[in-house]
Amino acid sequence: MKKIIIPLLLCLLPAVSFADAQKGLEIMQEVEKRDLDWQDMHADLKMILKNRNGDEHIRSLRMKTLEMKDDGDKSLSIFDSPRDIKGTAFLSFTHALDADEQWLYLPALKRVKRISSSNKSGPFLGSEFAFEDLTSFELKKYQYNYVKDEAEAGVDCFVVESVPQYKHSGYTRTMVWIDKQRYIPLRIDYYDRKNALLKSQKFNVYQQYLDQYWRAGNTVMDNFLTGKSTTLIWENYQFRTGLTARNFDKNTLKRSR
């Protein structure tokens, strides 16, 4: 009888203790290392929002990002459509564990509004992407556990569980499929606060820039709860265009259209 109980108990222990925290961290350190020193980035972004009935809505925005050493990145997003919010701009200074700093520019009033960054889990522009899904990757934001090897879309991957360490996350954990060769994410599964599978994001059409940095041409986020999906289409990637912190201040925010 005893012999049966022990393996049973082992099965009941949380999966985390089996997983390999050290290996998980090492994989993500390599992910970070390979994506260092791109300095600044510009890209045009189209979001295609689809509901269960197949109705589509399109949002387009331009995004500039400044890589910060030893801190989260700075980013400026300017909305081009829907037309009633054209010219609205969003400035964000992200931090690994401290609260991000965020400002919104409302062009009709010419008003710059400092907004709360506690809104991590809420939808971005009515899409299936939460604010936290779109902020820059910082190693310290999560605790990692290597779970297993598994192929994703025919590519050998490490599967790493990431547990958010920052406040106000809508997730208990995410599962990330990391390409073993290129050390880039191919898929992320998101588990909600009740630890149920909520969403899955797939990264497609990767291209390499400056012979080093891989960027996805599009990513698709499926929400299993609502049946809705959002596709992000990234275009016109440009790196090292000479942006400085000055391109990410409130004065620039007020000039943005």
Partner: protein
């Protein structure tokens, strides 16, 4: 020699950057103002239909460091000739460099943090015929130099050309009783001193704090009113604009779900020195029950030492409000608030809702109700002016 010049010309033309596209955007809309009660003055009406167009022509070049924008605006209104108005909201050129920006032309400038009243915001005249909420502004000619340093931004303003506050006409609503005379404003200074104002502002963000400190010298944008009787014995209000020195402070602390806000001004005119403040908070519950809904609670206290003589009705009032943002595809938003006078307990209710349709259309509904104003209050003039405002606009 001639040939050399030609070569130079061709060479310099070849060096001209490609002319980036000029961008045109804007909206056209149709609006209905519907009043619930019979007007105080029989010249006024119960329903006003109007049409509006605002366009923006925009161009940027020099790698985005120079921009040009032209924003003309027109509203044509039924019944109220004063509300039919054209304005250049913007006609501006901006040059930006690493440590400074130069902004010339007709522009709009916003200062401040609070929601119920924009106390420190003084550069532009308010367009009170466009909407009685005072959120719309007239374009202001200016020379604005911004000096951008690690310790903040210092903005210097020279503001030539004073613009009077426009008010609804005799047939218009909501309006003061008796009517405000739009044509015979008076000033305590004349000539150059009346026309040109100067301002300086320092603004900075440090961690959770956004701080602004400003000073303004020139003709006050908000008038006081003098009662005047003309030859026929008709009584009207005459706007009286004073030369003032106003120092303003605005502070916001953004801590977790809290926005803590404070604005204060000290204003000195030939008549008196007065103090005014607005202080309050906004607390937001984000993504309630994981539906995407944000619910914000707002509360602000308003004080003005001029008391009942204050040209605004916010002398000792409490504002509370609730904001719903659905964060849906249609960007549905509702803001409902009430301002209560602490002395008379008279109330002003304001509800604003907006929603997008078919990607390019937007519907806005506003409801404003006045209740319980006593005859000695400014609000008393508007006691019959509770109304709904509907605007459907197409954005291009």
């Amino acid at each position: 020699m001639q040939k050399k010049l030609h070569y130079l010309l061709i060479l310099s033309l070849a060096y001209l950057p490609p002319v980036a596209a000029w961008e045109l955007s804007g909206y056209v809309g149709i609006e209905d103002l519907a009043f619930i009660e019979k007007p105080v003055d029989s010249q006024q009406h119960n329903n006003y239909v109007s049409g509006v167009i605002e366009a923006e022509l925009y161009h940027e070049w020099d790698n985005g460091s120079q921009i040009f924008a032209f924003v003309p605006y027109f509203r044509g209104s039924q019944h109220d000739s004063q509300r039919t108005h054209f304005d250049i909201r913007e006609l501006t050129w901006v040059k930006s460099a690493e440590e400074w920006e130069l902004r010339l032309g007709i522009r709009k400038e916003f200062w401040g943090v609070t929601e119920s009243r924009h106390l420190v915001d003084i550069v532009n005249q308010r367009d009170m015929v466009e909407n009685s909420d005072g959120e719309d502004k007239l374009g202001q000619p200016m020379i604005n130099f911004a000096w951008i340093q690690d310790w903040g931004t210092v903005d210097l303003f020279i503001l030539p050309g004073f613009r009077e506050m426009p008010f609804t006409g005799e047939e218009g609503r909501p309006r003061a009783q008796p009517t405000i005379n739009n044509h015979h404003a008076q000033y305590d200074k004349n000539g150059f001193e009346r026309q040109v104002a100067y301002a300086i502002r320092w603004a900075h963000s440090v961690g959770d704090w956004d701080i602004g400190l400003s000073h303004f010298y020139g003709t006050s944008r908000d008038p006081v009113f003098i009662v005047e009787q003309d030859g026929q014995g008709k009584i009207s209000f005459i706007p009286y604009y004073q030369n003032i020195n106003q120092t303003g402070l605005d502070v916001q602390a953004t801590i977790e779900n809290w926005l803590l806000k404070w604005e204060a001004t000290v204003r000195a005119s030939e008549q008196e020195t007065s103090f005014a403040t607005v202080a309050g908070f906004e607390y937001t519950f984000f993504n309630v029950s994981e539906t995407g809904l944000d619910i914000g609670l707002l509360a602000e206290y308003l004080y003005d030492s001029r008391d009942e003589r204050a040209p605004s009705s916010f002398e000792n009032d409490f504002f509370t409000g609730i904001r719903f943002a659905l964060n849906d595809v249609q960007d549905t938003q509702i803001l409902a608030g009430v301002m209560v006078d602490s002395r008379t307990l008279s109330q002003f209710y304001n509800i604003e809702a907006s929603r997008r349709f078919f990607d390019n259309f937007k519907l806005e509904v506003e409801a404003r109700f006045f209740n319980g104003a006593k005859p000695d209050e400014i609000m008393y003039a508007f006691r019959k002016d509770s109304h709904f405002r509907f605007e459907l606009s197409y954005h291009f």
